[in-house]
């Protein structure tokens, strides 16, 4: 599934990375614990989190995830968006909560990592 399809299904705003919406996403890692993302992501996943600080993007960069979705309409500070742009990691925001995001994406065939 492309990031563009995910954006439409979840009703996301794109904060940065509009040019990378053709990215193909197969797997999802969802957590507010950054060490969990580092432990389980294998690279190129979509990361779903409620943590909007700079460490969320640093973790995404280190773990090699393709894109980040912030849940419950949480928006990061400007410097976080700029940093993600520099690292070429798209950021999307949806009003949905983490449970619903995961349920919807799972029902459409995306898998988690474990």
């Amino acid at each position: 599934m492309t990031l563009k399809e995910i954006k439409e299904i979840l009703g996301c705003d794109v904060l940065v990375g509009e040019e990378d919406l053709s990215l193909d996403i197969q797997q999802v890692v969802a957590s507010d614990g950054m060490s969990e993302v580092l432990a389980f992501a294998r690279s190129k996943e979509l990361m779903v989190t409620g943590l909007t600080n700079i460490q969320s993007i640093r973790t995404a960069d280190i773990a090699g995830v393709s894109a980040v979705i912030y849940c419950r309409g949480k928006r990061p500070e400007k410097n976080v968006v700029e940093y993600a742009g520099k690292k070429r990691i798209p950021i999307l925001v949806t009003k949905l909560g983490m449970f619903d995001i995961c349920g919807i994406l799972h029902a459409r065939g995306l898998k988690g990592v474990s």
């Binding site: 950054m34 460490q55 969320s56």
Partner: protein
């Protein structure tokens, strides 16, 4: 005997959450530019990032040294901090002494040290309570990890 290709030391400032992780991002760029495989870059920077976060969260200051040879990536992290009274317990997944502030930052869920160990081919940790902790991690470039 392995040939040392690069040695770089970085100072880590304890308590500085804004900058936490910057060094590891820089190391990622360096290793990638040197043509190290994506998998080995990933393992190396996960170790370095977790170590960096631990120093920022717990210690007053620390030094992270990156040593690249033609055989491996080595990371040495030495901090001046509270030390770890029971290393075996600290290496247990899920065990954490983190504060609420650390958890709000997305860290301190008891995965840091286990993550570092998992991504290393050789992992040594020594600690003295009241003085500090030192960690040595080796990531072999020919391993498939």
């Amino acid at each position: 005997m392995a040939n040392e290709l690069l040695r770089e030391a970085y100072e880590i400032q304890g308590g500085n959450f804004d900058k936490a992780g910057e060094i590891s991002s820089e190391i990622k760029v360096i290793l990638k530019d040197l043509g190290i495989s994506a998998s080995n870059v990933r393992r190396s920077v996960i170790v370095s990032f977790e170590a960096e976060m631990n120093v920022v969260m717990y210690a007053e200051r620390g030094t992270l040294t990156l040593i690249l040879t033609d055989e491996d990536v080595c990371l040495e992290v030495v901090d001046q901090g509270p030390g770890i009274p029971d290393i075996e317990l600290a290496l247990k997944p899920g065990y954490s002494t983190a504060s609420d502030e650390m958890r709000l930052m997305g860290f301190g869920f008891g995965m840091g040290l286990p993550n570092m160990k998992k991504n290393s081919d050789e992992f040594l940790i020594e600690s003295q309570v009241g003085k500090g902790t030192s960690v040595f991690a080796r990531i072999r470039l020919n391993s498939n990890g």
